[in-house]
């Protein structure tokens, strides 16, 4: 498989500055923090590659570097065989990007913004209009609003125009930096369906950064998990889950989990609630336990539950989610805001 993007030992740091003052007036000592640390990975041609991590973990910095908008402090990035530092113009011909901030000239209409964006790539107006009309219609954008100023649009509508801007140039590689953040569920689905459809038809290389696990899992062939500037795991969703999967972990649900957890003695097995805090009590979620002898355990459990007038609801093997993977690898939830 041809490598479309190769990131090799890339590090990027920023100087933390006090806003509003010229440097010589700033009393606070300037400090440097590293958004991306010595990171290496590659993306195959025609792959949908996800970068999963919490806010501030370095996803956007990585995407900005691959998009020629940031220069790495150390390391090399090659996109379609071109060196990002030495040959950025060649890369620019091939890529486009949709960022989490749908940045536009707010007083201009969607049409004016999209025509400006397409002209930058040398696309004739008539071709651009045909292309973005089709994309916007597929995304559920109301056609009559095309001439309205962007400032009148909701976040969802602005993001749809941003997605049209990204795809209007027929990029060979597209970077989608949290493309659905802030969208309502319907718009989110429309965007995800659009990305899938374009991918199936064109087999372009797509890089998606997100902190939405289900989106990444649904769309991506492979996923890199990122935390504090480092890629800590990489693989297909199944490969990542296998890292934390346990053959003997089960989830039990009863009519009264709180009571059940107190009366059950699961053969010295570890009992914990679904949130993994090792509390000996359960809310509405099931009781998680581990055992190597599930058949015998079921008999014991059902007997004890019956004795205590607790109804057995179900027992199932626990399949880890990407959240579990992230939690296991970093010790924190994906929803945690990283101060970086």
């Amino acid at each position: 498989m041809t490598k479309e993007i190769i990131v090799h030992n890339v590090t990027k740091g920023f100087v933390d500055r006090q806003a509003g003052l010229p440097n010589w007036l700033k009393l606070k000592k300037r400090t440097k923090f590293y958004a991306v640390k010595n990171t290496s990975f590659s993306i195959d041609k025609g792959e949908i590659f996800g970068i999963l991590g919490p806010n501030g973990c370095g996803k956007s910095t990585l995407i900005r570097m691959m998009s020629t908008l940031l220069l790495p402090d150390k390391g090399t990035i090659k996109v379609a065989g071109f060196n990002m530092i030495k040959e950025p113009e060649k890369i620019k011909e091939l890529i486009n990007r949709v960022s989490v901030e749908a940045s536009f000239f707010k007083r201009l209409s969607a049409k004016e913004n999209l025509l400006y964006a397409s002209r930058l790539y040398g696309i004739e107006d008539k071709n651009a209009i045909a292309k973005f009309t089709s994309i916007l219609s597929e995304l559920g954008f109301e056609k009559k609003k095309i001439n309205d100023p962007m400032e009148k649009f909701s976040r969802g509508m602005q993001q749809k125009v941003a997605i049209a801007r990204g795809f209007i140039t027929d990029p060979k590689i597209i970077m989608l930096d949290e493309p659905t953040t802030g969208l309502d569920p319907k718009s989110k689905l429309e965007v995800q369906r659009f990305i899938r459809r374009v991918y199936q038809e064109t087999k372009i290389t797509i890089v998606i950064s997100s902190h939405d696990m289900s989106e990444v899992e649904k769309l991506c062939d492979r996923i890199a998990i990122m935390d504090k500037g480092n890629i800590i795991a990489i693989g297909t969703a199944q490969e990542l889950k296998d890292l934390v999967a346990s053959e003997n972990t089960f989830e039990l649900e009863t009519s009264n989990n709180s009571k059940a957890i107190k009366i059950l003695d699961l053969n010295n097995s570890r009992i914990e609630t679904k949130d993994g805090n090792n509390k000996l009590e359960s809310k509405s979620s099931g009781i998680i336990f581990q055992t190597n002898d599930v058949d015998n355990e079921i008999v014991k459990i059902t007997t004890k539950l019956k004795e205590n007038n607790i109804k057995f609801r179900h027992l199932k093997k626990v399949v880890p989610t990407l959240e579990d993977v992230f939690l296991k690898l970093t010790g924190k939830s994906l929803e945690d805001e990283d101060e970086e």
């Binding site: 990027k12 908008l69 620019k92 940045s103 004016e112 025509l115």
Partner: protein, 276 residues
């Protein structure tokens, strides 16, 4: 292949021209405000000229003095418009956060700045001629001796220099989102003051005269006055034309180079992002 490349270049340059045009159209109220402001400023300067005899009690050719002042006013309406339009094109992009998209596109910076500059010239000329036409109705300016060909040449050469200055000034909002646009306006004010907008440069302190000698505004303003008031020929204006040519030749590539340095600096420090 060459034709295809030319066509692409043309579309890319037009992207910036048409974007600026769209921005003006969508902010038409502000265009009216600026035009009225330019007009009131020019007329105030004209009335100052008319009133000078009453103020000082000295007898002088008031009409000639008004024309002298008004040329400064018209020229500055035009040159500042060119300078500000080129430099503020970047400020707009910083405000809106679109700069990353513009810089990510495969468009050469020379084409980018050229597209902006062509708009700046046309927009500046329209503003200047509107102000000139309306002022003419009030002040009855005597342009009977004017050499318009020479004046046009001075204006064209001055435009090139001011585009170069605008490119250099455009780097300020690029590298400093917080301070850049303010610094651009200060730069404009300094150029205006040292270039002799309403007075001969010889009235400035000696050290300022040295600074004025490298300002294209100095040659543009004085050359224009001589062309319009005395009807000086192109050869008689050579002492203004040559410095303008030399400054233009230096400033355009220098402006482009400084801008590319600024762009590179932003890509190293992460300053292209909207929040800096």
């Amino acid at each position: 292949m060459k034709n295809k490349k030319m066509k692409k270049t043309k579309i890319q340059a037009m992207a910036f021209f048409l974007r600026e045009l769209d921005m003006r159209r969508r902010n038409i109220g502000w265009q009216a405000v600026w035009l009225v402001y330019d007009l009131m400023w020019a007329m105030s300067v004209g009335f100052l000229g008319l009133g000078v005899a009453a103020i000082t009690g000295i007898k002088l050719d008031v009409n000639q003095y008004v024309l002298y002042l008004m040329i400064g006013s018209f020229m500055w309406t035009y040159l500042s418009s060119v300078f500000i339009t080129v430099s503020w094109a970047i400020t707009w992009e910083r405000w809106e956060g679109t700069i990353e998209y513009t810089f990510m596109a495969p468009v050469k910076r020379t084409i980018h700045l050229f597209g902006n500059s062509i708009f700046a010239i046309i927009y500046g000329l329209i503003r200047m001629f509107v102000v000139l036409g309306l002022s003419e109705l009030i002040f009855d300016l005597n342009l009977s001796k004017a050499n318009f060909v020479a004046a046009g040449l001075i204006l064209a050469l001055a435009s090139v220099s001011f585009i170069g200055l605008g490119m250099m000034a455009a780097v300020l909002p690029l590298i400093s989102p917080e301070m850049g646009d303010k610094m651009t306006m200060i730069t404009e004010a300094i150029i205006m003051m040292i270039s002799g907008i309403f007075y001969p440069v010889s009235t400035l302190p000696v050290w300022m005269q040295h600074v004025a000698s490298i300002s294209p505004g100095t040659y543009a303003l004085e050359g224009m006055r001589q062309a319009l008031i005395s009807g000086a020929s192109i050869s008689e204006l050579s002492s203004f034309i040559w410095p303008l040519i030399v400054i233009g030749i230096v400033l355009i590539p220098l402006g482009n180079y400084v801008f590319s340095l600024g762009e590179n600096y932003c890509k190293r420090t992460g300053k292209l992002k909207r929040d800096g």
